[in-house]
Symmetry: C2
Subunit: 423 residues, 2 copies
C-alpha cells in the first residue's frame, strides 16, 4: 500500500482486524505465486501495483467518484451491460468473490453445498471484508444460475441494494424480447439512480470505452497463440481479473502497453516457457481474484496456460458492441444483442460454446483442455460432458474444486499425469 | 402382478433381470411401509392395486392406447400443461425418478453432485428399468432448475425424444408473454406429434378432466385438516404420487371414493392417529414414487403428516384452470396463466410460496414444518432460509437428504427431537 487507508476502511464499516489479516495473506500469496515468476513482462508492474492497491488506492478513487455524484454499480457477472452504467456516469466494478472467506457466516444463510463463489460473496459481505460491496450504490445480480438467483434474494435482505436482471434460458425470439426489455428496464433503473437521462452520445462514448477495453483483451488473448507463449497464463488471468476492477481507460492503455511488449517478444521468439512446452486451455467456471489455484498448479508443472474459456476471459471480451447506432433505442437493441450472444452454460442448448472451445483450441494451439468447474456449479459441471465430446481427440481433463487448498496435492498429481498424457 | 408381463417388458427393451429385482424390492418396501399401517381406509385398496400393477397393467393400458394411435407424453414436472396433452388425445404420465437406481451409469453422464431425482431419471433409463420412459413418444422437460435444464440436453442424446419448455425466472409482463408463447409452441408440438388439430371443445373436455382430478386432490388435502387426521400422510402422499401415473378419470373417481370414506371418518371423529398427535407439514422438493423416506420416519415416530407443500402435493393441484374460455386462444391464455401461478422455487422472488406455506400451516393445523430438500436441489435448499423466516414462531426443521437409506438413523434422531420440541 502506498499509504495508510485505515480511516477509509473504517468509514466503510470493514472489520479492520480481519481485513488486515486478509490483505497480509493476499500479499504473501501474490509474492509466492506472481512475483516469483521468471521472465515476466516489464509491463506487468502496473498490474502488480493495482493488486497491491486493490483495496486501497482504487477504493479511494471510487469514493472520490462517489463524492462527485457518480454512482457505483457492483456486479458478479458479465451479463450486466457496462455501457449502460458508464453512460449514466456510473462506475462499474466486480465484487469480492474469489477467496474462502466468512464461510461459517455465509452458511447461516445459504446451504453448505453452495459453490465457492456464491459462498464467498456472502462471506465477504458478512465478515466486513469487501470495500467494493460497501462502496456500491447498487448491486446488480442476474438469473444465470439457481445458486446466484436465489442467493441474491437473501443478499438483498442483507445489503438492501440488490437489483436483478433476468437472463433467459434460451435465445429464441421471445427470449430476445424479454432480454431487450430487461436491458431497457436496467437503463431506466440507472437513470433513476443517477438522476441523469442516458443519451445516445453518452452511449456512444461508453460503447467506445468498453469496446476499446475488449479489444485490448482480445489483443492479449491472440498474442498468447505464439509459441513460446510471451506471457504466463497467471499473468494473463490477472489482467482479465483486473479488467473488472480498474478504471477502464487506464486499464486499456496499460493492457495495450503490455501487448506492445509481448508483440516485441513474439517477434524475437522470446517467451515465458520453452518453445514446445505443453499448452493448456482452461475452460469453464469463472476465477475471481485471488483464485489463481489451477493456473498455479498447471504452470508449476511446466505447462503454460494459453487461454481462459471463461467469464474471466473470453466470455467477457469475445464479442464487441456494434457501435453503429443512431438512437438510444437502437443502442439498447445492439447492447441487448451483444450480451445475449454470450455463450454461458445457463443457456439450453449452448452449442456456441462448443464451437468457441474448438476455435480457441485451434487458434491458441492448445494441446489439451482442462475443464474447470467450481464444485456445485451445476451449469458448467453438467456441460463438461458436452465439452468433452465436442473437442474430440484433444486431451481433456475434468476438474471440480473449490477455493480451499486441501486438494492441491491431489490436483497437482492429476494435472501432472494429464500433461504427461498430452505428451 | 395379476399376470406375467415378461413379454411386454422385453418388447420395451427393459433389462429383465434387474427389473425383476427392482419390482421385488419395491414390493417388499411397500409391504413394510404401507400394508403394515394401522386403520387404513378401505378405499386405499385401489391404490395398493395400482402400485402392484404400476409396471404391469398400467403399462399395458398405455401400450393399448398407443396401439390406438394415442401419443404418450412423459414429464418430470408440474409445469407441463396436461390439458394440452389430453386435448391432443395424448396420455400424460410421470416418468420414473424416485429411487436410487443406476447411479453408476448416470454418473458417466452427469456429475456425482447432482440431485437424486435427476440422477434417478438418468439411472432408470440407462439401466433399462423404466417402462414409462420406453413407452413415451415424447419426453417434455422444462427449465425449472439448472440440473434438469442441462441434464435434458444429455437425456435427449440418449433418448432422442426430449422437448423442453422454457419456464421463465420471474412473473413480469414479458415473462407472461414468453410463457404464453411456450404454451402455444407446445400446443403446436402436440398437434404435430398427434396429427390432430386441438379444438376448443377438446380443450374444454381436457380442462374438465384435469380440474376434476385437482378438485379430488384438493378435497383430500382439506380432509387432512381434521384432528384426528383421517388418513396417514403416507397414504395421502401415495395418492398424490399416483395422480401422475393413473388414468385421470378413474383416478378422480377412486380418490373421491376415498374422500367419501374419510368424510365419514371425520364425522365419527375417527382417524389414523390419536387426536392431538403431532401434526407436521412437509414442504420443499418433490417426492416421486417410491420416495416415502421422510413420511416413513415422521409417521414412524408417532406424528402424522398432514400436508405436502410440494410438487407432489399442493403445487400440483392448488390452482384450478379457469374453464370460462370460448376460443383456443383464450384457452391457451388461461392455461398459461394457471401454470405460471405455480409457486416453484425457480422463481425470483417467490413470495407466493411463503404465503401458501403459512396458509397451509393454519388450514391444516400443523404444529411444525419440516422443510425437505433433495441434496443439491439448490432452489429449495436456498429457499428454506426464507421459508423458515416466513413461518415465524412455528417450529421448523430443515432436512437435506437423498434416496439412500444411509442417513435413516440420523434423520430419525433429528425428527424425534423435533417432534419433542413441537410438544
Amino acid at each position: 500500500m502506498s499509504k495508510d487507508y485505515t480511516g477509509m476502511w473504517e468509514g466503510l464499516g470493514l472489520n479492520l482486524e480481519n481485513h488486515s489479516g486478509l490483505l497480509s495473506v493476499l500479499s504473501d500469496a501474490y509474492k509466492g505465486i506472481y512475483l516469483s515468476q521468471k521472465k515476466r513482462p516489464k509491463a506487468m508492474e502496473y498490474f502488480d501495483f493495482v493488486i497491491s492497491e486493490v483495496h486501497g488506492l482504487r477504493i479511494e478513487e471510487i469514493l472520490d467518484a462517489k463524492a462527485k455524484g457518480r454512482k457505483v454499480v457492483g456486479t458478479f457477472c458479465v451479463f450486466v451491460p457496462e455501457e449502460i452504467v458508464l453512460a449514466a456516469g456510473g462506475v462499474y466494478i466486480g465484487l469480492c468473490a474469489g477467496a474462502e472467506v466468512g464461510s461459517d457466516e455465509a452458511e447461516k444463510f445459504i446451504p453448505r453445498n453452495t459453490c465457492a463463489l456464491i459462498k464467498a460473496f456472502m462471506g465477504f459481505k458478512l465478515s466486513g471484508l469487501c470495500p467494493y460491496v460497501e462502496s456500491a450504490d447498487l448491486i446488480v445480480g442476474e438469473t444465470t444460475c439457481d445458486g446466484k438467483k436465489k442467493a441474491y434474494e437473501i443478499f438483498n435482505e442483507i445489503t438492501k441494494k440488490v437489483y436483478v436482471m433476468e437472463v433467459p434460458h434460451m435465445k429464441n425470439e421471445e427470449d430476445k424480447k424479454l432480454w431487450l426489455s430487461e436491458v431497457k428496464r436496467f437503463k431506466e433503473k440507472m437513470e433513476d439512480l443517477s438522476g441523469k437521462k442516458i443519451t445516445v452520445d453518452a452511449l456512444k462514448e461508453a460503447g467506445g470505452i468498453v469496446n476499446a477495453k475488449r479489444k485490448a483483451l482480445k489483443r492479449l488473448s491472440s498474442l498468447r497463440s505464439a509459441d513460446p507463449a510471451p506471457v504466463s497464463g497467471l499473468d494473463a488471468l490477472l489482467v482479465n481479473q483486473i479488467s473488472f476492477y480498474d478504471d477502464p481507460l487506464r486499464f486499456t492503455e496499460m493492457t495495450n502497453r503490455l501487448c506492445d511488449e509481448l508483440e516485441e517478444r513474439v517477434k524475437q521468439g522470446a517467451g515465458v516457457a520453452q518453445k514446445g512446452a505443453p499448452r493448456v486451455l482452461i475452460s469453464g467456471s469463472p476465477m475471481a481474484i485471488p483464485n489463481w489455484k489451477l493456473h498455479t498448479i498447471v504452470e508449476g508443472s511446466g505447462a503454460v496456460v494459453v487461454g481462459e474459456e471463461s467469464c474471466i476471459g473470453e466470455r467477457n471480451h469475445r464479442e464487441l458492441l456494434d457501435e453503429g447506432f443512431l438512437t438510444v433505442d437502437e443502442a439498447l437493441q445492439k447492447i441487448a444483442s451483444r450480451y445475449l450472444s454470450i455463450d454461458c452454460a445457463c443457456f439450453t442448448p449452448n452449442n456456441e460454446r462448443m464451437d468457441n472451445i474448438n476455435s480457441l483450441v485451434k487458434d491458441l494451439k492448445a494441446g489439451g483442455v482442462i475443464h474447470y468447474s467450481l464444485q456445485f456449479c451445476t451449469p458448467y459441471m453438467m456441460e463438461a460432458y458436452k465439452a468433452e465430446k465436442a473437442v474430440g481427440n484433444v486431451p481433456f481433463l475434468r476438474i471440480e474444486t473449490d477455493y480451499s487448498m486441501e486438494d492441491m496435492g491431489q490436483l497437482k498429481t492429476r494435472v501432472e499425469a494429464f500433461l504427461e498424457m498430452m505428451g
